[in-house]
Each structure stands twice: as C-alpha cells, then as structure tokens.
Symmetry: C2
Subunit: 298 residues, 2 copies
C-alpha cells in the first residue's frame, strides 16, 4: 500500500488519530478528514469536511480520488443515542450513504466501514435495543446495498471494545481519568462500575488499526470482519488492573447492570481474521499502562 493514498474520515477521533499515524508510518499518502478546521492533525494532510453535508463529501472524494477509504466518522455513545436518536441516524447512516455513493465515481477504490457489535440482528428481531444499535444495523445495510446493487469494493469491520492511549470515551479511559483525578486530589467521588461480573472483549486500538490495514489490503468484497482479542475480561478484573497501577486507591461503587444499555456479547469467529494472518498482539496489561501514561501526561 506504500505510495498509495487513503482517505480517513473521523480522523480527529480516538481511532482516527491512531489510524493516521499508522498509515502515514507505512508510507501512504494520508488524507485526514475532520469536521472542524481547528482539529489537530499530527499525521497526514488535513481535509475539512462536514460528513453531514452531502455536497462537501462528493467534492472531497472527487478531488482526492483516494485508493483506499477508512470510514471512521460517526458517533458511538449508547446513552447519547437515546437523547439524540435522529442525530445518530444522520451521522452514522446518512453520512455512510453519502460517502459510499460518492465513491461510485472511483470503482477501483477499496473501502472499509467500521461497524459495531452493538448492531442488532434483523433476522431475529424487529426491535433494536437502542437508537445507536439501529444506526449501526442500517449502516451495515448501506454497505450491503452499495456492494450488491452497485458492485463497489466495500468491507465492514466490527471491532470489540477498543482501548489504548488517546481521547477514548470507553470504560478504560474513564477509569484512567478517574485514577489521575484521585491522585491529584481533584475528586473523591467513586467510580461507578455497572457490574463486576459482566464480561467484555477489549482490543488495543493499535492491533485494531493493523487489522484494518490487512482487511483493506487482502479482504474480500462485501465481507464483514469481526475483530476481537479473543479474551473476555470481567469488569471486576479490569478495575483491579487499574487499581494495581494506581498511586492512590480508586474509590468504586458497583451499580446494578443496566440490561437496557448493554447488549448481549456477540462472539466473533476468530478464524475469519486468522485467515488473513492477523491476531491481537498487545496484552491488556500493556494497554492499561499506556492509557494511564496518556492521562498522566494530560
């Protein structure tokens, strides 16, 4: 892929920042699409584009003619999606329609859309658990449609819970932020843990970005790729790992598990990514140390 160009949408986000660094690092021309002019972009060429603005997307694609596209732009908070369901559908669904449709002008382009395991299975139920889930299911339908009706080379990746240094809003980032606040005596409020027994698969963002490259290079048209570390951790273990590295004990309060927010875990088929020669390399403990380091440096 060296010497080729890649358009990365949502480049200012947690995954986007890592993706720009990675793809620039392997010698690609990186176009980092961000919504606001003042967003900091450290790797690649900054492109300002509002993904809710159809004409801007068509113009951007026509001008850049990218060889590859990594579509990260979107919103991904379940609680927020309850408050602003329409905004979630605009941002996650319509922006994908606009982008995929604009890419019809570049048939050779390979595109990877980042979906979510929190989508719901439309073959089983007509009732999504929350608006975010609806938006990610519809995003997958957009991918299927533009592949099958218009023959485009699009793939979907569905990573598990992404962790690592950077401006994430996931539980590990929240824990690290709380830890640093407690160490600095900024707060004494306990960390609210939804449950100690609930299990999740955590994947380091750097492993995920490497998987995205492999899929973009060698993936099959129209295929969905679940990406997981393969190790389910209890949230209690997650908390203990952070506690282990804390200079001051982190106060904690365990709430009841909110079944309405947490969808059942979909187990991935690890063979799909293993076939492409990928497996997770970074252990959870290493991710945690890097996350803590990131927040201590803020």
């Amino acid at each position: 892929m060296k010497g080729k160009s890649i358009l990365i949408t949502g480049a200012g986000g947690f995954t986007g920042m890592h993706a720009c660094e990675y793809f620039a690092g392997i010698g690609m021309q990186v176009y980092a699409s961000v919504r606001h002019l003042d967003t900091n972009v450290l790797f690649g060429e900054k492109i300002v584009c509002d993904m809710m603005h159809k004409e801007q997307i068509y113009a951007m694609v026509r001008q850049l003619q990218p060889d590859y596209v990594l579509h990260l732009a979107g919103r991904n908070s379940v609680p927020e999606s309850w408050k602003e369901p329409v905004s979630y559908l605009e941002t996650n669904v319509m922006s994908t329609f606009y982008l995929l449709d604009a890419l019809r002008e570049i048939p050779k382009c390979r595109t990877l859309v980042i979906g979510s395991k929190l989508k719901f299975d439309i073959r089983v139920t007509s009732q999504p658990p929350h608006p975010y889930s609806l938006s990610k299911t519809m995003q997958q339908m957009a991918v299927n449609t533009w592949v099958h009706l218009f023959g485009q080379f699009i793939m979907l990746a569905e990573p598990s819970n992404l962790i690592g240094p950077g401006p994430s809003t996931g539980i590990c980032a929240l824990l690290a932020r709380k830890m640093v606040q407690v160490e600095r005596n900024v707060t004494v409020e306990p960390f609210r843990l939804s449950s100690t027994e609930e299990t999740r698969d955590f994947l380091d963002i750097r492993d995920a970005v490497r998987a995205y490259r492999i899929i973009l290079e060698n993936g099959k048209q129209g295929q969905s790729y679940p990406i997981e570390s393969g190790k389910l951790l209890r949230l209690g273990e997650v908390f203990q790992t952070f506690q282990h590295y804390a200079r001051t004990p982190i106060p904690v309060e365990v709430a009841g598990n909110d079944a309405g927010i947490h969808a059942p875990v979909h187990h991935a088929n690890p063979f799909v990514m293993n076939e492409l020669g990928w497996q997770a390399r970074i252990p959870f403990d290493r991710s945690v140390q890097d996350i803590i380091q990131y927040f201590r440096n803020q």
Copy 2:
C-alpha cells in the same frame, strides 16, 4: 374523528389529493402539507413544509398539534431510485425519522405511515432488489423503533397498486394517458407492456383512503396493515379493459418482463383488514372508467 385534526404529508400527490378530500368530507380539520407554495390544494389548509428540512418539520408539528397524521410524502418510482438512490433514502427514510421524532412531543397523536409491498424481507436476505426497496424497509424499521423505544402510537399500511382518477404514475394512468394521446392523434408510438402474464393486485385509491381512516381510528399500535383488493389481474387483462373503452385501438408492444424491477408479489392476509370491517368496494372496471374520464378531461 369529526372535529379532530389530521396532518397529511405529501398532500399534493395522487393519494394526498384524495386523502385531503376524504378527510375534509368527514368533517375533519385537514392540514395539507406540501413542499411548494404553488401546489394546488383543494381541500384543507395548505401548509408549506420541506420534508427534507428537519427544523421545518419540528416547527410544523409543534404549531399544528395534530390529533392524527397520515404520512404519504415520499418518492415511489423504482427506476428513479436506481438513478438517485441517496435522494430516495433522504426522502423516504430521513423524512420519516424527522416526522416521527417530532411527534414525540404529542404522545396522544395517532400516526399512519404508508409503506410498500416492494420492501424486502430482511429476515430472508441482506440484498434489496433496488434502492426503493431498501428505503421502504428502512422506513418500516423507523416505525418499529419509534413504537418500541419511544412508545408512540404509529401504524404502517402497505397498499397494493393504487389506481384511480388523478396524477398517478402507475400503469393504469400511463395506459389512460396513451389512450387519450392516440385518440387525439398526438402519438402512434405503441404502449410498452412489460408482460401480459404478470399478475398484480390493483386497489382503487378511494378504497385505500377509506382503509387509512379505519386504521387511524381503530388500528393497533405498531401493527402493519397490508391492503389489497384481493383480485390478481394479468397485465394482459388490464390492457384489454382499457382497449375495451378506447375510441381508437391502442397500439401495444410486449417486452420481456424485467425481473430486476418487479419484485415477487407478497400475498396479503385479507383477514387483518376484514377484522377492522374493511373490504374493497370499487370494482376494477369502475376504476378504469374514472381514470379514463380524468385523462380525457385534462
């Protein structure tokens, strides 16, 4: 429903014009929502609202506080949807999201969304036959979501092929228009019939609008209502019926059936509408005569 108010979107269209006349006729306050100021509205109060413009929709709903909503706005041509897939998704899906979300402010409101039998069954395939089908499936998902997540009183109607006097773009309107052109010596070009053997269910628009009223009044929250005449006609029979009333023979050319455009017929469950006390009353022959009369008067 007499004395109550109803907001009818897409009021300038074929169904909308009949719906405004009908609901005004039973003594309702009709708000006829149209996109353009210069659209002719004969019954009800004209409301200008662009259904692609979120803020306009929220403002309209807040101001009118309708007791009932009949959501007809949208586009419904399969060939057009191939040319402008994104526009079809904006018009049929996003406008529905905007409208249903705006109606969260009026919990007592009963809403009927008009779907289509050309939706595809997501439990069976991930591949829609055309973008129009995708848009109507997603519209149904919007209805399910706003019913189940937000508890709104919304229903879906899925009429078969609607016919009757007025500016339709269906096969019967095209046949009547051709007949009148031939009678007036405007054309000698033959009518292109996709197939003589393909069968379709045709339903008079006035029967359909009466069904919409019954559903709005007595339908169940979250229910889908297929609406059909119950009589499948071969396209050859349809042509012969028009030929029978023609003053000059209509030239015809039978093309091969385009399987890519015509989805398989979904058979409705007639009991669902019979339970509500509805059945089709207007025979096909009467519809045809009224359609011909309409185009002769143009």
